[in-house]
Structure formats: structure tokens, C-alpha cells
């Protein structure tokens, strides 16, 4: 098994730190994220190490809670997306025919909706909240992933090793599970990281437009949205969550790239 490269390992370490951060919030470290602990809009200082927000709440536990909310929400959403896309993409790609046509048409319909409009509609229909945010992210990320998984599955299905497995008498689940899936896994992993960043962005966008997670719960999107209106008066409100968000997405992407390079060992060639 090849190891991830150093950059990806760094990204993984960042993600781990964030997860620990989020878990710490669950354990109550950093304090109650909803409690009003001090004066409004105070810069970082003892008692509120990342400053206080416009309701006099300490930002530290809020950022910690926000990381947890956002990571959890987007990860679950991406897992759902990956599961759905992999299932439909692989079956459509392998089977072809009318099934393929139907899946692709449905995907295209979803695809034709601008993601954020889709998210707004979902949030409006389901009522804002975590479920809506989750469903929005899933619906926003499914089309692209399904498409790419299907394309990859079509190519893989024509490979001789798949035919050989079929000749050996392997049943459909085995053919799809052992031969097609692992060979589109790279696509899924790469798209998954892409979807994860899209998910975080969609969550943020929804919060930005007022459809995100419910107060007083913090998510990175909510914090950044609120913080954005205090950019000058209280820059620490956006700085903390903003840095964390960028680091999180960056780390996810770096890990995704590394994962892809590992899953799809590619030879490179120099042009000189």
C-alpha cells in the first residue's frame, strides 16, 4: 500500500485537529456556546479567547461548535451523495439501456437547477434546519457525482477484467462491488472531496441567505455570515471561523488530491 504524500498527510492532520476541536465542543470544552458571558463585541481576552460576538457570547466555544456542525453536516451529506451516486451511477453505467436513460434524465433535471436555488427551494419546502441543509447539499452534489461515476463505470464495464469476472460466473453484486466500484472509487473519492467543499459552501450560502442551521446553534456558515457584517467593528468574529473554514476546505481538497494520486497511480512524463 502506497502512503499518502507529505502534503496530504499535513491536510489529514489539519482535519484531525478540527475533528478533535469539534469533539471537544461536544465534551463541553471551551464553555457553553450559547451562554452570554460578557460584554458585546469584545476583542479576544481572558474569558473569551476569541472575543465575544454581538450577543456577548464567547466565540471560542461557538467556533468549536461551528466546526462540528459544519463538518458533520457536510460529511453526512457527502456520504449520502456518494452512496446514492455510486449506486445509481454504477448501475446506470453498467446496465445501460433504459435504466441509464432514466437515471441520466433525472440527474440532468437536478443538474439544470442552479445549486443554490435548489437549496433555497429545499430549505423553503422542508423548513430551514439541519435536515434541509443536508438535503440541499445532497441534491446539489448528486448530479455531478452521478454523471462522473456513470461515465467512469461505462468505461470500466467494458474492460476485460469485468468480462472475465462475468464469464467466471460472478453475480452482479460481485461484479459491481469488486470490479466496477473499486475502479470508480477514485472518481468517487475525488468528487467526494469536491462535494465536501461544495457542501460547506452550500451550507454557508444557505445561512447567508437565512436558511441555514437554526439559532443559537453555530455553524461555520452562520458564524461567517454574522461575522461578515462586523468586518471592521469586530474583525475577530469573521477571522476565527473564516480561517477555520478555509483550512478545512483546503485540507479536504489536499487530502482528496493525494487520495486520488494514490488510488489512481499515474505515471508522469516530463516533456524534456
Amino acid at each position: 500500500m502506497k502512503r499518502l504524500d507529505r502534503l496530504s498527510l499535513g491536510g489529514l492532520a489539519c482535519l484531525l485537529v478540527l475533528v478533535v476541536f469539534a469533539l471537544g465542543s461536544l465534551a463541553g470544552a471551551g464553555g457553553d456556546p450559547d451562554a452570554i458571558v460578557g460584554p458585546r463585541l469584545r476583542p479576544p481576552g481572558p474569558g473569551w479567547w476569541l472575543g465575544t460576538d454581538n450577543l456577548g457570547r464567547s466565540m471560542l466555544p461557538r467556533v468549536m461548535e461551528g466546526v462540528g456542525t459544519t463538518l458533520l453536516l457536510s460529511s453526512i451529506a457527502v456520504l449520502v451523495t456518494a452512496a446514492v451516486s455510486a449506486t445509481f451511477g454504477i448501475i446506470a453505467g453498467y446496465r445501460g439501456g433504459y435504466l441509464n436513460e432514466l437515471v441520466m434524465r433525472l440527474v440532468e433535471v437536478l443538474y439544470s437547477f442552479p445549486a443554490i436555488v435548489l437549496a433555497i427551494l429545499v430549505a423553503a419546502v422542508l423548513g430551514p434546519g439541519q435536515v434541509a441543509a443536508l438535503a440541499s447539499i445532497v441534491l446539489a452534489t448528486i448530479p455531478l457525482m452521478t454523471r462522473l461515476v456513470r461515465a467512469a463505470a461505462v468505461a470500466v464495464s467494458q474492460r476485460d477484467y469485468v468480462t472475465s469476472a462475468v464469464i467466471s460466473g460472478a453475480r452482479l453484486p460481485r461484479v459491481l462491488g469488486r470490479h466496477v466500484l473499486p475502479n470508480v472509487a477514485g472518481t468517487i473519492a475525488v468528487q467526494g472531496t469536491y462535494a465536501l467543499s461544495v457542501g460547506i459552501a452550500v451550507e454557508g450560502g444557505l445561512s447567508f441567505l437565512g436558511f441555514g442551521v437554526q439559532p443559537p446553534q453555530a455553524s461555520l456558515g452562520v458564524l461567517i455570515q454574522r461575522g461578515g457584517t462586523y468586518m471592521i467593528a469586530a474583525p475577530w468574529l469573521i477571522l476565527g471561523p473564516g480561517v477555520v473554514l478555509v483550512v478545512a476546505i483546503l485540507a479536504i481538497n489536499v487530502v482528496g488530491d493525494g487520495l486520488r494520486d494514490q488510488l489512481e497511480p499515474r505515471e508522469t512524463r516530463s516533456l524534456t
Binding site: D34, A35, I36, G38, P39, R40, L41, N54, L55, G56, A124, G127, P128, G129, G210, F211, Q214, P215, P216, G228, T229, Y230, M231, I232, A233, A234
Partner: protein
Amino acid sequence: ATGTTTQPSTGPQAEVEPGYLAVADDALPSGGTLNLQVHIDSGAATGYDPQLADVATTWQLLSLAYETLVTVGPDFSVQPLLAEKWETPSPTEYVFHLREDVSFSNGRKMTADDVVGSFERLLASKSVWRGQLGAVKSVTKDGDHTVKVTLKEPYTPFLAALANVPAAVLPMKEINDKSVDPATTLLGTGPYVVKDHRQDVSWTFKRNEKYWAKGKPAADTLNITIAPEEAARVAALQNGSAALATLGNVDSAGMLAGAGDVKVVTQATTDFYYLMLNTKAPASKFADPKVRQAIAIALDQRQIADIALGGKGEPSAVTPAGLPGACDPAALPSASKGIDDAKRLLAEAGAQNLTFTLSIYSTQPAPAVAQVIQQNLQQAGITVKIEQMDEAGWSGKVYGKAPAEFDAALSWFAGYADPGMVTKWWNPEEAGFNVGFMTPDKELNALIDAAGKEPAGAAREKALAAVCAKADADAQMIPLVTRPATVAFRTDALSPSLYSTEGYGNVLRLVADARVKKSQ
């Protein structure tokens, strides 16, 4: 209510003259273009018919083109506008003497027929404002320039109610011969006429050349840009593409600190936030008045004002704080009780582990207010779940069904210009919009009606105090804090006039006085 405040309130906004946050500099030349930005366009299926307008943003817009017989001054005194003067021969009779030099913007002179016709049209309409005018018995003209209104019974807020846009004088001749549809066309006696409008993008007004007041309006053109995103309005102020903008964030002053020529002022208003507790839902958690009283006690209005509104609001009773004659919120029965009383009341009602959902819309500062409420009530062992929706979803939930399905909801009332006016909304049969969640209280209704008849003075204040106390005990709609309006303008581009306190949510009330220093 109880609790400790974490930060002293910042106190009233500095005034430049009694009752004024800013006074336009008459020495400056008139003319020029005034660029404004507001957060929302007025948009209603009923169109621009002033009589049907029921939200402050629409009133504000229509006030540029329409005028009423009387208006309110900086101290909420009623002042002449289209009526030069008036007499009240008896508590039920009002005789208005109209200005003779007033024309509609199409050039036609305004007559007593327009005034009478407007009254009759309003009284025959479905307008909510009918209720605010009291019981009008008759409207007659007495010559071309005199109009007499007779009430069935004395009604003290009558003149204050006449000062708002729904009571504007409409061009009745044109409306009657159908040459003008007030739903789509703005044709009034006001300082400006519409030149262009793109829904949700912009309005352009130009001065009404036929305007009766000499030297007004000062600015030739008014561009109103609709910018829903606060950051965009802040940006426009900073780079000078807007000379004045309304802001939603109570901390905007900090945001604009250091942006050289921008001045941020907070206009106090009589509007106030209130909490609705739905007693009509099946198995309502709030059926027992003790539960509602406990909530009223546990709420810390001062903390809400200080934290959620950054010290810019004031605790209010049913009569809006800031209006002459309003009752003192500190004197309310719930204000003198403490958390332990609230807990005791809950225990008596058997509702120790009360949990309920508070439905709010996502526009700031509603979420901030809701979160402070949540913290307040937690002190009394009440768990509040906040459910945040877009405004449409929220109004569907709150007003869409009868009986309504929500537990509790947060909203605000425009406080108007007389302390008795808004108290009417505590009578659901009269208000209409709250029949779905509010159970009528006969005693309270009787007190409200009684206060309406009482002429101004100590007796009225007593009657109003009784209303306040009764509403406080009823606690189906619990007044919280007044709702400040934040206005920012560029001192290098504009010299505006602004009241310190506004009753009808009209930031643009004095825009005809505003002097443009330089045009962008």
C-alpha cells in the same frame, strides 16, 4: 422582569435640536440629485393604493407623492398639512380648513370633494386603517375648502390616525372617471412624482413642479436604489454612490467608524417587538395565564434592548415607549416580580419543564432578540427552541391558518403616533390578523375602548395604564422593546432633516427638506 444587565444602555442619541437628530441647512442651495438606498422595495398585490397600504415601507414610499390633511411634528404633536387649520367644536366634530393653493401633480387643484371622496372611499374599503380612524359617522363638505367630519363617539387618536398615508387625499375625480388607477399610478399632492420604477431595483422621483410649499422640495431628483444586502448599502455609503441609506444592523455605527464623512444616527421609533403566545392551538401550552405570566416575568426587556439591540431600544409596554402619555414599563406588574415568582407560577400551572418553539423570521435583529429570549427563559427553566424561517414561511405559519399552529412567535408592531392606537391590536376582533392565535379578553377590550374615548390628560394616562396592566396580565402578546431605526448619511453630500423619534416608520418623512451638497 428580572435579571441583570450586562452592559449599560448607551443612552439616547445626541440631538441637534429638540426633537431632531439632524436639521437641513437652509443656507445651502436647493436642487441636485439625492441618491438613497433602502433594503426593500414596497411590493404588494394590492399595488400602490395608499388606502390599502398596510406596511411601513409602503407608507414611506407613498409619502413622497401623497399627503394627508395633518401631519405629526417632532414631538408627536399634530400639525397642519393639507388642512391649514381645524376646529373641534365638540369631541365628536372636526372641521378642516383646506389650503387653497394645493394641486395634484397633474395640475388639477385639490378640492373639498377630493377630501370627502377620499374619506368615503377609505371607509368603504377593506383598509385596516378604517379601524384606526375610530367610528366615523359622516364626512361632509362645507364650501370648497372646508370639510367636516363627525364621529359617533369621542375618539382621541383621530387626528394622529389622519396623519398617516392611508388617510391621504386622493385625486377622486380621476379615480372616479377611471382615468387613474391608484393601484398602479402615484398621483398625489406630495413633493415628488414618479419618473421611473423597476421593481426591486430602483425608484426615480423628480420634483413636483406644482408643489404648494414654496422652496420645496429642495432636491430635484430622488434616486432610490433597492439593496437587500446590508453590505451593499454600507459599500454605497462608503464610496459615495448613496448619500443616505437605511441600515438594519444596530452596530452599523461601528462598521462605518472611520469612514470619514459618513454619519450614523439611530432614530428612535414607536415600533416595538412583541412575543406572541398562541392560546388557540389545540392543547396549547399557554392556555393557563399563569404560564404566560411566568414568561412575561422571566423576560428581561432591558437585557434584550442592551444585547440584542446594542442598547438602542427601550423596554416598552403596550403603549409604545417614547410616546407622550405612554405607560411606564417599569410599573407593570410583571416588572416587579422575579425569577422565583416565575418558577412558582409555572409550578402552580404544572408546567415546570415547559418547552416550546419560537418561530421567527431570519431578518436581523429578530434572531438576536430570540436568542436573548431563549437565554432569559432558560433562567426560569423554560426551554425554547428557535425555528427560523424566511419571512414568507413565517407569515404563512403565523397568519396562514386559524387556529394557528405555532407555539410562540416574534414580531413587531408599528407604534404609530398616539399611545392608544396600537392598543387596538390587543383586541383580536378588531385587529383581525391575530384571531388565529389570540383569545379575546372582554375586560381588556372594554379598557381599550374606554381609553380611546378619554380626552388627553391625566385621566387618559390612567386609563392607558389600566390597559397596560391588563394586557400584561393577559400576556398573549407580550411587548418587549422598541425597535430603533438606523440611518446613515454622508455629511459631505447631504444635509438632511430627521426626527429623533418616528411614529410611522418613515425615515423619508422630511426628505423634501434635505439639501444636496454635491451631486454624484
